[in-house]
């Protein structure tokens, strides 16, 4: 049964459970319709946030195919909405730094262990302190790894592989990182001196804002067979890391956006918002951006893997055992701010086309059978890591064939904010956040003066609702729910 929700500015038509169509006549110049994945109860909030307008803006870009997509954690962002997915034809379409965002390859990695929450619950305060002291975090934090110019070049080329070559991680980790932790054909010579300067002291650092490092327990298993393939079981302790390319990514995006302002004029691209600035994918400006974006993406994979190494060292020292005997191997590492060339069939055609897929606050969710997945996961689909907030839960999902057919192999990336940072601070000024969370059994350490206030659980949508929507839409399926035990924030 079709339902319609009318608001002053947007009309969404339900075309399937959890799938809502924004008509192509919503705004002049739309080349494709919009489509939002959401539950019915989420729709009023999405409409009030003006995000359909941003979905429509993206639909006006040249060469977009299928639909301008939004995931259920969609919220207002500059240019492209956060939670947006858009795919562009390689010949007719564009590439846009605004479609990737400033934190290029912001993403999540997950380490498993053979420890159980029962065994280590009393250790959590000391473990969190040890992680807080070992993993640099906070505004402008710098790490212990100081990269020479040549080393940085190799990081930009090789990504996570460089970290393995330095003995800071295990070569088996690479199999369980998207793109094996490094996109090919990156050209470090295109990375500016300023971007390099920002990168040299920040490898292996968490940063600030919503980035975190968290000890979690697998609280519930939904799909035992898939969980087994992912090496997850109830009661198991895991560690999640959420971070990105740090100042390097910000600098690359900022510089590229300025180049794209000129490119948009040069190629006479009629933009409804200057933050959508872009260039034809195959133009020199487009290819240069794609190359430097890959450099920043590679740096981010190296960054998260270097931090994984620091986490392993911390646990190994604390328990007096090698990390290998604690079973701290990599479950998976996903990025959720990226542009990537991938092959998809459009409009039920069996013919596959190469497309430039932009995911800004959206996660790849390839299903069973995809040849790019490691053998261990090939029958069940890739792990999808969804960080929630520090008080409730995070999720491990699995990619599906439906995602491949309907959302360019994409799903949500997190909970999505419902409260501004300032509003969150106002709401919490009289309370001690760390103490309140400790009363719920969650130990939190933070570097920033207001970070905990800004990042209170109530500032985010309940990740349960977001995950229910992507599960309901069939673009990923629930595998495990993870509950926080101890969190390090920047």
């Amino acid at each position: 049964m079709k339902k319609e929700t009318r608001m002053p500015e947007a009309k969404l038509e339900q075309i399937a459970p959890y799938r809502w169509r924004l008509s192509q006549d919503f705004q002049p110049g739309m080349n494709v319709p919009g489509e939002i994945i959401a539950s019915e109860s989420m729709i009023p909030h999405i409409l009030s946030d003006n995000t359909p307008k941003q979905v429509a803006n993206v639909a006006t870009l040249p060469g977009i195919v299928g639909a301008s997509l939004a995931m259920p954690d969609i919220h207002w962002g500059y240019g492209f909405p956060i939670g947006g997915v858009a795919a562009f034809d390689l010949d007719e379409g564009i590439i846009s730094p605004g479609g990737v965002g400033y934190d290029i390859n912001c993403g999540v990695s997950l380490l498993r262990s053979n420890l159980t929450s029962r065994e280590i619950r009393s250790d959590i305060p000391k473990l969190v302190d040890a992680l807080f002291n070992r993993v640099p975090c906070g505004v402008g934090s710098e790490g212990k790894i100081k990269l020479s110019g040549n080393d940085l070049t190799r990081v930009l080329e090789k990504g996570a592989r460089w970290v393995v070559e330095q003995g800071l991680a295990d070569k088996d980790d690479l199999e369980f990182i998207e793109e094996n932790g490094g996109m090919t054909d990156s050209d470090p010579s295109l990375v500016s001196d300023r971007a390099r300067e920002r990168a040299r002291k920040q490898l292996g650092t968490l940063g600030s804002g919503n980035h975190f490092l968290e000890i979690q327990v697998v609280e519930k298993i939904f799909q035992p067979e898939i969980a087994e393939a992912f090496g997850l079981y109830k009661g198991q302790v895991v560690v999640m890391i959420h971070s990105g390319s740090r100042g390097l990514g910000h600098q690359v995006c900022d510089e590229s956006l300025k180049v794209m302002q000129g490119a948009a004029r040069k190629y006479q691209l009629d933009l409804v918002d200057r933050q959508l600035a872009c260039a034809p994918f195959k133009s020199p400006e487009g290819q240069d951006y794609f190359s430097v974006m890959k450099c920043a993406a590679n740096y981010a994979w190296a960054n998260r893997l270097a931090m994984s190494g620091l986490v392993r060292q911390t646990f190994a020292e604390y328990y007096g055992k090698p990390w290998q005997s604690l079973g701290m191997s990599m479950v998976w590492d996903v990025c959720h701010n990226i542009a990537s060339v991938e092959e998809f069939a459009i409009d039920s055609s069996s013919h596959k086309r190469k497309l430039c897929v932009h995911r800004k606050g959206a996660t790849r969710a390839f299903g069973p059978g995809d040849s790019s997945l490691p053998e261990r996961y090939r029958n069940v689909g890739q792990p999808v890591l969804i960080p929630g907030d520090m008080g409730r839960a995070s999720y491990v999902l699995a990619g599906t064939e439906t995602a491949y057919k309907t959302t360019f192999g994409s799903t949500c990336h997190g909970a999505g904010r419902v409260m501004s940072r300032k509003a969150a601070v106002r709401a919490t000024q009289k309370g001690n956040i760390a103490r309140k969370l400790a009363e719920r059994g969650i130990i939190v350490r933070s570097r920033g003066k207001w970070t905990l206030n800004e990042e209170i659980p109530e500032a985010y949508k309940d990740v349960e609702d977001v995950v229910a929507a992507v599960h309901g839409a069939g673009i990923s399926q629930k595998v495990a729910r993870l509950k926080p035990m101890g969190t390090v924030k920047g």
């Binding site: 919220h75 207002w76 500059y78 505004v139 300067e197 918002d273 200057r274 933050q275 501004s420």
Partner: protein, 147 residues
């Protein structure tokens, strides 16, 4: 004059001034307000403020662009780079100048990273999102910041 407008994930600043130079100056003053923790009683103590001004040093930054919007965003991002990467802690915007080649220059007074003046927030960038400068008797613009 400036005031901040809250968005869920990001932050916008609405700027208002009597002319273009003051608009650009106000944009940088808004960034100071956001990212720099000034000494206690800075706002209320003229003596302290004067002493700080005397003991500070000056740095100039410049930006270029196709139009005023691009120049403004570039200048704000140049300012963020100076604070967040080079470690300068500006407290005053002394002067804004434009040349006939489309460049804008700003003189900033402040302190080095090892002073007591701290950076309290990281801003990734000033964005181009819907940026449009209105000119006339009053100059206005709204700039969205990625935090």
């Amino acid at each position: 004059m400036f005031h901040f407008v809250e968005h869920k994930a990001d932050l916008a600043v609405e700027l208002e001034a009597k002319d273009k130079a003051e608009l650009f100056k106000t944009a940088l003053e808004a960034l100071i307000e956001l990212i720099i923790e000034k000494p206690e009683d800075f706002e209320n103590t003229t003596d302290l403020s004067e002493n700080l001004r005397i003991s500070s040093h000056t740095i100039s930054i410049a930006a270029s662009g196709f139009d005023d919007e691009e120049r403004l965003i570039s200048l704000m991002n140049e300012f963020l780079y100076l604070c967040q990467v080079k470690g300068f802690r500006p407290l005053y915007i002394n002067n804004i100048k434009f040349d006939d080649k489309g460049n804008v220059m700003a003189d900033l007074s402040g302190f080095s990273v090892d002073s007591d003046i701290k950076l309290i927030r990281e801003i990734k960038a000033a964005t181009y999102h819907d940026v449009k400068i209105e000119s006339g008797e009053v100059w206005r613009v709204k700039v969205v910041l990625d935090v």
